[in-house]
Symmetry: C2
Subunit: 175 residues, 2 copies
Amino acid sequence: MRLFIEKGFDGATVEEIATAAGISRRTFFHYFESKDDILLSLQGDVGKLFAAEVRRAPPATSPFALVRDAALRVCASIPGDDMLAIDRLMRGSASVQARKQASYRQQEEALFSAIRERWPEPERETRLRVLAMVAVGATRLASETFNQEGGARPFDEVLRGAFDAVTAEFTTTAP
Amino acid sequence: MRLFIEKGFDGATVEEIATAAGISRRTFFHYFESKDDILLSLQGDVGKLFAAEVRRAPPATSPFALVRDAALRVCASIPGDDMLAIDRLMRGSASVQARKQASYRQQEEALFSAIRERWPEPERETRLRVLAMVAVGATRLASETFNQEGGARPFDEVLRGAFDAVTAEFTTTAP
DNA sequence: AAAAAACATGCACTCAGTGTAATATAATAA
DNA sequence: TTATTATATTACACTGAGTGCATGTTTTTT
């Protein structure tokens, strides 16, 4: 982390990082598949947390409400300062940035599986895929806003705002 | 393309690709920033097409309908066979896959800008970000399904199904 | 035809990532 | 404790992506 802050992501070589950590270059690659993984591993397995939360959630008024509340609970457990710091470092590398986006797709997949267990009717599949996409997407939008604002508002609030915007934009009052 | 099919993405070296194309390795990197870009450039600038379509679209009943119809028009112009072929090649490399996901974020950004021009009210910003996210997300889900199915149904149909699922999942009948 | 701009290439270099084999360290059985 | 056996660490050598720089080769422009 110190090296990344001092020299940037590309500026710090694996050699330097390994030496600073008191191990050899080769041993570094025994613990991390790539240099990117240093930052990616910090992100943690949000997808699995999210899915687990959905599985243990009580019956809800709607799938959307259940997923929204699960998202709020998961994110309540993540310190905002860490989010800001990790995000700042990740901006340093395009390939890290790309893999981060790719990780959202995995989260979506994990979340979909969990949702699917609760509503297994085949004809609902597409709708539930959409739900998972929206949930992960809203969470991503919230974290983008949160980082953009530099943590001005608490993450919970921003996240709730994102989910509320979904409701507001798509819930048309039918006759 | 031939080399990628024969030897896989990682199996084909830039050296070989350049030679097969009748140029030098160094010249290759004059045209492509990276090996990944060979496949990524095939994807084309879908985001810009999408945004342009939104800009030229006639007034619509709702932002959602406008964006949905724009998506349908853009995708009508893309040959399904190409989509399948490109997708098959892209599966060969994790880093290409990652950059592809990252490109969806850029599409979202471009789309958001275009939508924003039509509804510039500041208080709508979050809702329109959500709309762009959902539109790009639905398009992505549709193309995932389309590729999964190997092109069994026409892309238009799958895409329409994805947007319909959004409506179905979120349009609750209020009293 | 001469000058300038754009394109192509060769060369040398850095660095990420991998396979392999040797060596050290820790864990376990005797 | 000692011998044995995993397991962790390392050195070494190699491939291949990507870059900077200098030089050569076309096109354009004047």
